[in-house]
Symmetry: C2
Subunit: 357 residues, 2 copies
């Protein structure tokens, strides 16, 4: 039971993958614990400098001999006019003042070319450090990058929100695909289809993707326990990827206020917003989301808006103020627990093995 | 396998329920075929007069000796000012003209009290005709209605989109609850929570409801085959309710153009709209939905808007024009087939029994 092409390829005991959450959540302790207890740990390296990534890989290698993955954001072309940035920044100014954030003028707006340079350098670290698994969010890298990684026998995983995106991921030669259901917390991974159309629930998404691609499918979105694991396998997936469930684990780097906010939330209290980063993402509703709801369509694209809100999120975190933090969460917060990674994985497997239908 | 409290209570062979789709889809042939082949057929009686309901019950009884259900819309209080109605009607007028619909002034706007009178009469028919199963959408009937139906030993099924709604359905004394995931086609059944917040995918919704109520749970939304059936059971549901899968069956009364539109659709081509009826519902995107998108928030509530668009939907159907029909569909249209009810049910059971995880 629970052995398949994915567990073989990734050399893991259980078909359980820890979602690569960016922004300090995937500590070395979290990644190593997942890999040590039979799953696949993943570094959410999207926002990391090459050196930070290199350092974390070394640190994890001291904690586990098992394989783990690195997840990168595929950079997107973007345009943001001075005027658009100025308007967004002015809109955010009262929130900065409320949180006593002084640095308004020092915001360094990213440039598209810098994103591509950083991505190329991250890829070099992955190859240099002989990381065996590399996954991507927000799109598909160029075929040059794919070929380079494949020459080094690195297993490649794409992220799709629709059948069409999964087909493109297979076509470029990736080895497996994460299908992100509408239940998923955090950023939407859509890159071909609009963010609204691509909000497809896993009950619909998994079988429709499985019927159209030959590479193995990993289910992501709202999966928290053995029930979700077994249901995903019934639908045709070969593994699950879980974010929120690992985020509230003791080993995760998520702020305690953030963990507590998830534990207190209900299934109908997450919403989609683009106000934090410029990309649509699912998180627990709070004052920041409510204050920006009417204006969110005017905000600049990712990663510009992300930069504009950085000081707000940072100040809110240091003030333990959940109302202005990005509290990404999937739609199953009632199933979240504070526990060790070991306990989460073992309870999942025990539960899955006991389900009789 | 596949035997549980729901199959016992409903006296059905398989835990498969045909969703009660209103508006002529649930023909007597469809309802009877489902009940004859081991599932539970349901009359979508929401828009029916007491006499129409009585007639269909008699007709189905000539076709099956097995039990079947009747589904009713719980009437809602609503307000619609003359001005609001006039504005909506004016907005729709160019569409009426495009379809050569003449009757503009003859529209009879419903009154709240009529909805409550019709509901009371429908309940009387259910009792009179000794229908053994009655389900409700759009809310919870008064405890007087519940008590009356229970005195006649009628099994009662509510519809919920959130944990809170499921808890209320249990509290008033219903026997089981349909949980409607965000994947579901047709009208949203939310009655306590806003339509947007209550868009929870089944992977999240089923286990969170199951953990909070003691009555058995029926999963609805995007389920089309044995994979969806088994996945729902893994998540803790005891049966599935399927709309789109039965809608494209040969026995269903859906327009051929409508069935064909589903067969040609993809998982990312359904959208939520309130422009057809005044209540949010999921259907295949078309010209009517696109034309009304910007204005839909200004349209009057259900059932007033439904009445205003009736002639448009009727004319479009008679002209085989799918662009102005309401093409309700769940998020799994790629899994739809034109087939008999017998073939659908038997293939589902065969498939479910073969799945090994």
């Amino acid at each position: 039971m629970l052995k398949n092409k994915i567990t073989d390829l990734l050399t893991i005991k259980y078909p359980i993958i820890q979602a690569p959450m960016a922004g300090g959540i995937t500590t070395s302790q979290l990644v190593a614990a997942v890999s040590n207890h039979g799953g696949l740990g993943n570094i959410g390296a999207g926002y990391m400098s090459p050196q930070q990534l290199r350092d974390q890989i070394s640190e994890i290698r001291e904690l586990t001999a098992n394989s783990f993955g690195v997840n990168l954001f595929v950079p997107n072309e973007f345009e943001a006019s001075e005027d658009e940035i100025h308007r967004a920044s002015s809109f955010l100014q009262p929130i900065r003042e409320q949180l006593n954030v002084s640095e308004t003028l020092s915001i360094e707006i990213p440039e598209p070319k810098n994103g591509f340079i950083a991505f190329k350098e991250q890829i070099e670290v992955v190859i240099d450090e002989k990381v065996s698994i590399c996954s991507f969010t927000f799109g598909i890298p160029s075929s040059e990058v794919i070929d380079l990684l494949k020459q080094h026998n690195i297993i490649l995983i794409g992220t799709a929100t629709t059948v069409r995106e999964a087909v493109e991921i297979e076509k470029i030669g990736m080895d497996m695909v994460v299908v992100q259901g509408s239940e998923a917390g955090g950023h939407r991974g859509n890159f071909l289809d609009g963010s609204q159309n691509s909000l497809v629930g896993l009950m619909s998404l998994i079988p429709q993707v499985v019927d159209r691609v030959n590479i193995p499918v990993i289910a992501a979105g709202g999966i928290m326990d053995g029930r979700g694991l077994l249901a995903s396998l019934c639908l045709g997936a070969q593994a699950v990827q879980m974010g929120t469930a690992f985020l509230t684990c003791i080993e995760s780097g998520a702020h305690n206020v953030y963990k507590e906010a998830i534990l207190k939330s209900h299934e109908d209290q997450t919403v989609l917003t683009r106000a934090f980063s410029g990309k649509w993402a699912r998180g627990i509703n709070n004052q920041f989301i409510q204050n920006t709801e009417e204006h969110q369509h005017t905000f600049p694209e990712f990663p510009v808006q992300n930069t504009l809100t950085q000081s707000i999120r940072k100040a809110a975190a240091s003030q333990n103020n959940q109302e202005f933090m990005s509290l990404w969460s999937g739609q199953s917060p009632r199933l979240a627990k504070i526990q060790t990674v070991e306990s989460l994985i073992h309870q999942m497997i025990d539960e899955a093995e006991k389900i009789k239908v």
